[in-house]
């Protein structure tokens, strides 16, 4: 908008795709990069996209024109149904443009947005996590005013996700030692000065209080230079025994992300802490236990604020459950690790609690059969085992991965979802089979009606006899037609229900 004026050629260059492709994002640092992950594939789909996806209209694509320095080969860019590319390098020493298909992340984004789930901040550790409490009661969107925080420079806000210091709990030992030696040690003098100032303030305030109580005029405020070494050493000793205050001071000084609250921390905080400094961020931040995410907690993948909406089925009406998602069971239970589900291309855990994905110990009475592919790999189903689940929210973990939270869905919702795919049939719009109590009697009526019609001379243009009999039956049984399962009662039939001959003629 208000940038410096550039020459027309410069403006053209700047707006060209060649220059407007942003630099790839850095890989989020994680402890598992080379400590945990011993096996990996270089060509796997990464958990986060780093490059911008570009596409091109068909006419341009046919010429290989992607708005880049040189045309891209048609053999690869035309033989795909997903013309989405990421440019690894615009120009290499071999004089080629290094590109790759970006269909993986682009379609994952599309699939995620089809799930229609809100991004939420991770639940705090203190909250109940049992299956009995409905989880959506605790869901808090990342776009709520008090936690949606985008000004990185502003360090005064609670519920921040961005901090200047590292998250100590995630660091490897070597990195931690490095941090201590390179970053923390040089700031010793500064921190001591801060402590001196703090001690001076404390002494001044206590001195003033004593003076007020004694009815004397307020003495001169104590400066930090006046504090003796002995006083300062005593103060440091008292701080060392007061972990709450010291931790609050240190984490504020270094701007560290909060760590998990230790047991009894809150009580100590109330009783022993010399100020309410400690209550600032330690107890309040939602990222205390799980760690702050490397990006905004929405990860830019979804902007829904809530999932609290009700779906409406055109025939069955409002639905208690959302349309369930057919999740792939990507991995069965292996040893102690539970089975993994693939929900729209995002790997997640099985729903918590006693359900068809969790084998409970024997003895429970309400035991349900375990779903296919949970205990063992399902090798009989074509395409692998799948199961219907209901995703309800997603969070971003400290490694920047999107973790979809799922719960089990109701059998009715599954049935309706299957019906949508033509795998089951529950909706009955055919003629109801009716048992007629006195067949002779009805036959007589039908015969009479037919005879009447023949006598009246409708013979030539009349429909065949079967449909006439049907019409007569309809007329006779018009009371019974208002049944729930018949679509004609909802007016959903393509044709209006057949009318008696007397009205139609």
């Amino acid at each position: 908008m208000g940038g410096p004026a550039v020459s027309p050629g410069g403006a053209l260059l700047r707006s060209s795709r060649m220059f407007s492709i942003p630099k790839p994002l850095p890989v989020p640092s994680s402890a598992s990069t080379f400590l945990g992950e011993q096996k990996a594939s270089a060509t796997m789909t990464k958990a986060q996209p780093r490059h911008q996806t570009i596409t091109s209209p068909l006419r341009s694509r046919q010429k290989g024109d992607w708005g880049l320095k040189r045309p891209l080969p048609l053999k690869t860019t035309m033989a795909t149904t997903t013309p989405l590319l990421r440019i690894n390098e615009l120009d290499t020493v071999e004089n080629i443009t290094d590109f790759h298909s970006a269909a993986d992340h682009s379609l994952s984004l599309e699939k995620f947005q089809e799930l229609r789930i809100p991004m939420s901040i991770p639940r705090r550790s203190g909250e109940p996590s049992s299956a009995t409490t409905r989880k959506e009661d605790n869901i808090k969107s990342v776009f709520e005013e008090d936690s949606d925080f985008t000004d990185i420079q502003d360090t005064s806000v609670d519920h921040r996700w961005k901090f200047k210091g590292p998250w100590l709990a995630q660091m490897a030992d070597g990195d931690f030692l490095n941090y201590l030696n390179k970053k923390v040690r040089p700031q010793r003098a500064q921190f001591r000065a801060l402590l001196r100032q703090r001690l001076a303030e404390r002494l001044t305030s206590s001195q003033n209080r004593a003076a007020v109580e004694a009815g004397k005029p307020t003495p001169e405020p104590i400066k930090s230079e006046d504090i003796t070494e002995e006083q300062f050493a005593d103060y440091i000793r008292s701080l060392r025994s007061d972990r709450v205050t010291l931790y609050a001071l240190v984490s504020k000084f270094l701007d560290l992300p909060p760590l998990g609250t230790p047991v009894g921390f809150a009580q100590n905080n109330l009783i022993f802490s010399d100020s309410n400094l400690a209550t600032d961020k330690i107890t309040e931040s939602p990222y205390g236990k799980s760690g702050p995410p490397p990006s905004h907690p929405s990860a830019g993948i979804g902007y829904l604020r809530t999932g609290a909406f009700m779906e409406n089925h055109p025939v069955y009406g409002p639905q208690a459950n959302k349309t369930p998602v057919n999740a792939r069971i990507v991995s069965p239970k292996i040893g102690p690790s539970p089975a993994k589900l693939g929900v729209g291309g995002f790997v997640s855990t099985v729903p918590v609690g006693s359900n068809e994905f969790n084998m409970r110990t024997a003895g429970s009475r309400h035991r349900r059969p375990v779903a296919n592919g949970i205990n063992n790999l399902d090798i009989s189903t074509y395409g692998g085992a799948k199961a219907y689940i209901e995703p309800f929210t997603a969070t971003v973990d400290p490694e920047g991965k999107v973790v979809v939270q799922v719960r089990e869905t109701s059998p009715e919702a599954q049935l309706i979802a299957k019906e949508m795919r033509g795998l089951s049939s529950i909706y009955n719009d055919s003629e109801l089979k009716r048992t007629i109590p006195e067949p002779q009697h009805v036959d007589e009526h039908a015969q009479e009606a037919l005879h009447d019609r023949e006598r009246e001379g409708y013979d030539d243009e009349a429909p065949p006899q079967d449909s006439r009999v049907k019409q007569v039956y309809d007329q006779l049984l018009s009371e019974e037609q208002n049944m729930v399962s018949n679509s004609s009662s909802y007016g959903l039939d393509t044709e209006p229900p057949s009318e008696p001959p007397s009205e139609s003629k």
Partner: protein, 225 residues
């Protein structure tokens, strides 16, 4: 005696029905796919046991049989015992078959999982390509170390001379120290590590021509024997 004969025939019929009960000896492989389209998903399976309603409805029928009263009339104790033993044997056989099926399925599953070596973690993203055999094959290989693990862990290699699993990480199965290309260590750490391994081998606490005996123990004394 006519009544006795009829009871015998009824008994034989019941025994035959037990014998001819179909039990499945096939694994889940032979079962139809999970989401096979079926016309009547809620069609009730034909039950052998008559419901309470149907038994009430057939109260008036002339040839209605009431199980225990009719059956216990003339069967001898020996026949009852035979019947019970036979039933128990059948049940045992069924349980055995089911157990065998389960174990076979487990083995088959393990064999296939060996071809899918990727360990999925929560939050991973996959596309169809990631499930292909080509991609799965890549997860078999050990990734090259890109960082210096000794720096990352903040340990002193010279102190690790009694950590045999650490030494095994940096030596071949025949005792050679691995090159820094494979270990991925920076020169300082590689020198320290090599010195530590040479010391351990020189002290005689780690073999210089093969893996540590504790690590190859299972080859000579398989577990479970």
């Amino acid at each position: 005696m006519p009544p006795r004969l009829s009871i015998l025939s009824a008994l034989r019929a019941s025994v035959e029905s037990i014998n001819s009960r179909a039990f499945s000896s096939t694994a889940a492989v032979a079962l139809p796919p999970r989401e096979a389209p079926s016309a009547h998903p809620h069609h009730p399976t034909s039950s052998q046991q008559p419901s309470s309603t149907s038994s009430l409805l057939s109260l008036n029928r002339p040839n209605r049989r009431v199980g225990p009263k009719d059956r216990g009339a003339g069967v001898s104790v020996a026949e009852k015992m035979m019947l019970r033993a036979k039933e128990r044997a059948e049940a045992d056989l069924l349980a055995q078959q089911a157990n065998q099926d389960l174990r076979r399925e487990e083995q088959l599953s393990k064999a296939y999982l060996r071809e899918m070596p990727r360990f999925w973690k929560v939050g991973d993203v996959y596309s169809p390509h990631d499930l292909s055999p080509v991609e799965m094959q890549k997860w078999r290989r050990r990734a090259e170390r890109r960082g210096d693990i000794i720096d990352a862990l903040g340990i002193n290699p010279l102190d690790m001379y009694k950590n045999f699993s650490a030494i095994a990480e940096f030596t071949r199965s025949s005792g050679q120290i691995m090159h820094s290309r494979q270990t991925g260590l920076r020169p300082v750490n590689q020198r320290k590590l090599a010195k530590m391994i040479r010391r351990a081998q020189g002290m005689g606490i780690y073999p210089s021509i093969h893996n540590h005996p504790e690590m190859i123990r299972d080859q000579f004394y398989p577990p479970g024997l």
